[in-house]
Symmetry: D2
Subunit: 353 residues, 4 copies
C-alpha cells in the first residue's frame, strides 16, 4: 500500500473531527487538507468546537481551513466528505468532475444507481459500480458513499444472518446516541429525562439503504435485497453508540447457538486484506445478559469502535425467529471509520488516484 494523500470536506463538524481523530496515526493515509464553509480562512484550532478530550493534534490545530473547492485539494488522492447533506450534492460532484475520488458520508448520492453504498465487510464487490460511473456521468473522478450511522451495524449483522440462515424479515427498534445529530444537535432541554421517539427521515433511510447494501450486483447494477424491514428510531440520552433491538424471522428453524457462532465467526474482505482500519472480528458477541451497553461496548474491536457488539441472542416467538440486541459506535463504525475502511479497500483495489 502506497501513501495516500487525503483531503477532508466538512472538517469542523462532529464527524469531521472524528476523521482527524482517526487519521492522526494512520499508517497509509495522510490527511493533508482540511476544507470548510464558514470556517474557511481560519485556523482549524480556532474554527472548530472540538468535542474530544484529547487535544487537537498540533499539526491540524495550526492548519488553515481551505474553501471547499477542488483547487484546495490539488495533489490529493482521495477526498473524504463529511458535509451536511444540503450542500453535499453540489460540492461532491464538483470534486468528482474535477477528477477526485470522493468517499462521502453524506446522504446526497447514497441511493444513486451508479454510486456504491459501502460497508466493506458486507459488499466489497459493489465498488465495481465505479467502473462505469465516470463514463456515464462525464466525470474524471468518482464518488463512493457510506451509509447512515444507524444502518451500518444492522447491515453487518443482517449480512451473515441472510447468507447463512436466510433471514427474511426484520423488525428493528433503535435507541440512538446524541452525537448522531451532530453539534449543537439535540438541545439538552429536549432530551433531559426524556426519549424522543422519532428521528426525521431516519426510518426510511435505514430500510432503503440496508436493502441496497445487502443487494447483489449483476449486469453492472445493484438489485436491492428484498428483506422487508419495520424500523422505529428513537433518540436517547447517550453520547455515542446506537443500540438496536432486532427481531428477525427466518425461513427455517434457527438455533440461538448457531446464530451466535455465525455472527462471532463472521469475517470478510477487509479482514482477509488486513486493511489497517478493519477490526479482526467485525462482530463481537457477548454472552452476559446485560450487554451490549453503549458506554461499555461502543469502543469494541481490535480497532476501537470498529466492531459491532451483539448480545441477548435468543429465540423469538417460535423457533423460526431470533431476537437480539446490537450496538455500534455511530461516528466511528457508523461514519468516519467505515469511510476510511472504504478508502483503504479502494486504494488496495486500485480505485483511488
Amino acid at each position: 500500500m502506497t501513501q495516500v494523500k487525503a483531503a477532508l470536506l466538512g472538517a469542523t463538524g462532529a464527524v469531521g473531527q472524528r476523521y482527524i481523530n482517526m487519521l492522526g496515526k494512520h499508517p497509509t493515509i495522510k490527511l493533508e487538507i482540511l476544507m470548510g464553509g464558514e470556517s474557511a480562512g481560519k485556523k482549524y484550532g480556532e474554527a472548530v468546537h472540538w468535542l474530544f478530550p484529547e487535544a487537537i493534534p498540533e499539526e491540524y490545530a495550526k492548519a488553515m481551513v481551505k474553501t471547499a473547492d477542488p483547487e484546495s485539494a490539488k495533489g490529493c488522492d482521495i477526498v473524504f466528505s463529511a458535509l451536511p447533506t444540503e450542500v453535499a450534492r453540489d460540492i461532491e460532484e464538483k470534486f468528482a468532475r474535477a477528477g477526485f475520488t470522493v468517499v462521502s458520508e453524506a446522504s446526497a448520492h447514497r441511493m444513486d444507481e451508479d454510486v456504491p453504498l459501502m460497508i466493506p465487510e458486507v459488499n466489497a464487490e459493489h465498488l465495481k459500480l465505479l467502473e462505469k460511473q465516470g463514463k456515464k456521468r462525464g466525470w474524471k473522478g468518482k464518488i463512493a458513499t457510506t451509509p447512515n450511522c444507524t444502518v451500518t451495524g444492522l447491515a453487518m449483522v443482517l449480512k451473515p444472518l441472510i447468507d447463512a440462515h436466510g433471514a427474511k424479515k426484520a423488525i428493528v427498534t433503535t435507541m440512538q446516541a446524541l452525537s448522531g445529530a451532530g453539534y449543537p444537535g439535540v438541545p439538552s432541554l429536549a432530551i433531559a429525562d426524556n426519549v424522543i421517539p422519532y428521528i426525521k427521515n431516519e426510518e426510511e433511510k435505514v430500510a432503503k439503504e440496508a436493502r441496497k447494501i445487502l443487494g447483489t450486483l449483476s449486469d453492472g447494477t445493484i438489485k436491492p435485497h428484498d428483506i422487508p424491514m419495520g424500523v422505529t428510531c428513537n433518540r436517547v440520552a447517550v453520547m455515542d453508540g446506537h443500540t438496536e433491538t432486532l427481531y428477525a424471522e427466518f425461513g427455517e428453524e434457527v438455533e440461538p447457538q448457531k446464530i451466535v457462532k455465525t455472527l462471532a465467526g463472521f469475517r470478510s474482505e477487509p479482514q482477509k486484506l488486513k486493511l489497517p482500519t478493519a477490526p479482526e472480528w467485525p462482530i463481537v458477541v457477548r454472552s452476559e445478559n446485560d450487554r451490549p451497553q453503549p458506554r461499555l461496548d461502543r469502543m469494541a474491536g481490535s480497532v476501537p469502535g470498529m466492531a459491532v457488539t451483539v448480545g441477548r441472542v435468543r429465540s423469538g416467538i417460535d423457533k423460526k425467529a431470533i431476537q437480539l440486541t446490537l450496538l455500534s459506535h455511530n461516528t466511528i463504525r457508523g461514519a468516519a471509520g467505515t469511510a476510511i475502511l472504504t478508502a483503504e479497500l479502494m486504494d488496495r483495489e486500485g480505485y483511488t488516484g
Copy 2:
C-alpha cells in the same frame, strides 16, 4: 359509593409513596393505616425517603408506621399491598386469611389461577374469580392483583386492537424509566451515558401477564389469550414513564386511521361507572411525529397519569401490520393508579368489605 377505609402495606417504598400521593384527596377511599417492615414504629415522615417535590401530607407525615400484621389494619375495608415480591406472598396471604380484601401490586400471586390480574378497562369481568377464591383457599378474605408496570400500557392498547381488528402477533421493545426499579434502584453510575438492555425476569412477565389479562373467563377460570409476543426490555435514563414500540400483525388489512379511531375511542367499564380514578379516555392518540415523549406525556389523562399515550401509528411492512409507540406512567397507571382503580371497581361491584 360509600366511604372505604384503606390500609397500605409497604408504605415507604417508591410505589407506596405514590399511593399516599394519589389517595390524599380521594373522594371515597380514605387511607388510614400505613404499614411497613423496618420502618414500623417510626413516624412515616421520618422513616421514608420521600421522592416527590410536594411535601408529605401533614396527616401522613405524623402517622406512626405499623407492623405489617392483620391486627394493625383492623377496621379497614381494603388493604393495598406495595410490598417487595420476596415478602409479599406470605404477608398478603396472612391478611386474606384474616378476612381482608387485598389489592396487590406485587408479583407474588399474579399468575395464581384463582387470582384476578386486573386492569379495569381490560378485564373487569375477571373479578368473578374472587367468588370461588376464598372457598378454595379457606380464606375469609381475598386477593386481587394488578400487573407489572410494563404490561399495563401494552395490554390497554392490545385490548381494542384484538377486539376490533384481531391482532395476532406483537413484537415489543421497551425503554423503561428508572422509577420502575424502585429506590435506590438503578445506580447513577450504571445508567449515566448508557442504556441497560436487560431487566431481570421482565420480558417473561410481560408476555405471561398480558396473555392472562387479555384472556377470557369461562367456567370460572381464565383461558389466556394466545397472542404470541416477542418482548425486549431496556432501561433508559428517564425518571418516570415507560415508552414501548409495538409492531403488531393482524389477520387482515388494517388502515392506520382506523387503528387511531379504535384506540382513541376506546372506553370501558371504569368509564361507564365513572370511577373516580378512571380517565375519561383511557388512550390518548397524538398526531405529532415526535410524540409520545415521557417527559411531556406521562401525566396524560383527565386523571393525571392514568391515560396511555399512543403516537406514530403507521403501517408496518405490509398492510396487515401496524407500528406504533405507546407510553404510560409506570408508577401511576402501571402501579398505584391501576390498583386504586381496581379497588374502586371492587367496591362498586360489592367485592370489598
Copy 3:
C-alpha cells in the same frame, strides 16, 4: 384591583411560555395579545416549540401571533417583554414612546439610571424612578425591568441579611439550570457528563444588578449598595432551578439560628399588599442537611416557584461569617414570576395604564 389587559413580547421563547403558563388563570391580569418576530402571522400553537407537559391553553394555541409593534397592543395596560436582549432595547423603547407601560425581563435597560430594576420584596420603593422617567426621555409610557435569573434569589436572601445583620461581603458560586439558557440553548453533547464552568457576562451582571437592586433611592436616583461580591457561575445538568452557595461575611458575630430566623421571617410589600403572585413567605428555610435540591425545592412557595429555598445555614470560618445554599426557580421567580409580581405592584400603586 381592576382587570389589567396585557400584551406579551417574545411569546414563543422559553420565558414567554412561562408567562402563558402563569397568566392562564391570573385573577387580575388578562393576557390578550401575543407578539413575536419570526412567529408573527402564525397561530401560536403552530409557531411555538412548547416546553411544558400541560397543553397550551386552547385560547392561546389558537391565537394569532402579532408583529412586535405598538399597534398590535392597542388597548393593553401593560406590555410584558420576554425579548432576547439584542432586539429588546429598540422594541421596548418604541412601546414606551407610544405610551405603554413595559415590564421587561430583558437586560437591555436594566442598568439605565432612570429605570427601576425590580424585585418587589426587595425594592418596591424603586418604582418611584418611573415618576421622572417619562419626562426625561420624552416618553408617554415607561419601562420597568426585572433582574437576571441568577440575581433574584441571591438578592432576596441578601436583603434581610444586610438589613438585619449588616452583611458586608458575599462570595457566591452558582450551579445554574439549562432553562436559563433558553431553547435550544445548551447542546446536550455539551452538558452530558459535564459541568460548564462559565456563563458569558453572567458574573458581571450578578454583581452589578444585585448592587442596584439592594441600593437606596435618594434624590430620585439609586445609590447602589457597596457590598463587594465575588461570583462564579457554572452550568449543570438540571432542567430548572438555580442553586447557589453563599459565603457571607458580617461586621459582627452572627449566630446561624438568628440568620435562619431572619430569613424565614422575611416578608415585605407584596406580602402586605397580598399581591396575587406573592408567596406568603418569600424565603423557605429547610433544616435537612441535604436541601435545597433543585428537583425537590424549585416549586416551593404558596405560589409555586415564587419562594426561594435556603438550607445548610452554618457558620463560616469564624463567627462573623455564614455559609448557606439557596435555590430559586430561574424561569418563575427568576423571570416571569417576578415580572408579573412587579406588574401587580405597579398596578396597585397606580403605575399602569
Copy 4:
C-alpha cells in the same frame, strides 16, 4: 528501582478497580495479590461489577480473590488498601503489625498523628513520620495514607499559592462526581435533574486533611497549616472529575498572571525523581474561559488523570484575592493514582520492603 510486589485490599470496589486499571502496565510495581471480603474465594472476573469499558486484564480476571489476611499477601513489598472506612482500621493495622508496608486510601488512619497523609508533590518530607511510627506502635510494618478525593486537587493548588504568594484564606465550593460515592453509590433517581447540596462528613475532611497535608514537619510531628477554609460540597451528575471553585485571599496584592505562572510552573519531588506515575506538570492551566470541564479535562496530564487542571484565574473582590476553578480526576489523582505515586516515592526513598 527494583521490581515491587504489591497486594491490593478491597480489589472489587470502584477504587480497587482503578488500581488494576493503572497497575496493569506499571514499569516497577507488579500487582500480584487481590484481596476482598465477600468476594474472597471467587475469581476476580466473576466477583467484580467491572465499571470500565476496557476488559479486565486476563491475568486478573482469572485470579482468585483471597481473604483480607496478612497470610494472603506473603512475599509482597507493599499492600494497597482501597477498603471501605468501616473495616479499614482493623485490617490495615493487622497488616502493619505483620510487617507490611500499607498505603491506604481509606480515611481510618489519615488524621493519626504518626501517619503521613501524602500527596507526593505537596509533602514528600512527611514520609519521615514513618521512621518513628513502627517503634511507637509496636509494628514491624507501617501505614501511609492518601487523602480524600476532594482534597487532593485543592491541596495541590494551594501549596504553590501558599509558598509563593502567602495565601491566607480559602473559600471553596465543590461539584463532585458520582464515582466519588463508589458503586452502587448515588441512586439515579436521586441525582437525575438534580444537584445534591451535601456530602456527609466531606466538608470537615477537606478542611482538616488539607491543613495536615500543607503542614510542616518539625520535631517529628506535623504542625498543621493554619489557613482557614470555608468548604461547601455538592454532588452533580458527572461520572468522573471533581470541579471546585476557589476564592483565595492573600496578604498582599496578587496579579492573576503571576498566579498562572506560579501554578503552571509548579513541579516537585516526584517530577525531579521522574517517578513513573508523576505527571510532567502537576498543574495544567487553561486560558479558555470555559475550562476546566470534567469531561474534557479529567484525563489531563502526561500520565492521564494525574494532572490538576486550573482555569478562570481572575482577580477577586479586590487585588488581594484570586478566583479560579480547578478540576481533578477523583479516582485517579484523587485516589489510586496518588497512592501509587506515594508507593513509588516510598520505594525510591527506601520505605518499602
